[in-house]
Subunit: 130 residues, 2 copies
DNA sequence: TCTTGACCTTCCCATGATGGGAAGCCCTAT
DNA sequence: ATAGGGCTTCCCATCATGGGAAGGTCAAGA
């Protein structure tokens, strides 16, 4: 099948599939005459893997590692788990940062009348020196 | 003062201060001869405001809005609150997305032995079709 | 058989916020 | 006067993604 159908079936955009090829994640065959990309069942399976990993927030480099581990039938499951754990740690780091911002903002928001008057603890907080 | 000291005092990098100038958030005076940027107390105050807003995750466009509201002594506190609430909503959206990824990953990780054997529920999940 | 329209190709550019680095100017202390 | 540190502008890179232009390919219908 061509890239359009592969995109539809995988849920990735054709743009991104070409990008993933450019960086070596998936390299399909080409039709001899037209140079159209041709995706077979194997490629489609690989695209599905990429899609799933991407939706779970893995970086392109992590996906590269995971794809290699997938292909390596003798890898230790510990190797896969390590990649997943590293990603979880990163997600939790981001989550903590967001939670801290949210908490501060909610405190400020709850102190603000939110009416037509100009005095506002939010702005005042921002304007207060360190 | 010059940009280096302004950077030190505000906690922003000189690079970023120049960038904020380029996009019109803060425009300092220049020394007539040398074209060095010169930051006064007013500028420093503004940089502090930017720093605080940035650390709370506001986008540059939101900072632009907030700076304008700060300068406008007649704004309604509701206007400020609306910006903050919109940002909180965005943070919570991101937080929910991260939490969903984290949950899925943790489930997969807990199902994975993480030893020397090759069978791994994580990879298997990724490889499973939609 | 020819045309039309949908699809494909490559190439360039943009995003947002940030950093790196080069080439060259300015100022101050020795 | 010279050295060194700070400043300037300019260009490039990140990461994953989308937009769009110019042009090639293919299949279906007249």
């Amino acid at each position: 099948m061509n890239i359009g159908e592969a995109a539809r079936l995988s849920g990735l955009s054709a743009k991104m599939i070409r990008y993933y090829e450019e960086i070596g994640l998936i390299v399909p065959d080409r039709t001899p005459g037209s140079q159209y990309r041709v995706y077979g069942t194997h490629d489609l399976h690989r695209l599905g893997f990429i899609r799933r990993a991407r939706d779970l927030g893995f970086s392109v480099e992590q996906m590269r590692t995971l794809l290699a581990l997938w292909q390596d039938r003798d890898r230790a499951s510990a190797d896969v788990k390590a990649v997943a754990l590293a990603h979880i740690a990163e997600l939790e780091r981001k989550q903590a940062a967001i939670a801290a911002m949210t908490k501060t903002l909610k405190d400020l928001v709850s102190a603000c009348h939110g009416d037509a008057r100009p005095d506002c603890p939010i702005i005042e907080d921002f304007a207060a020196g360190p």
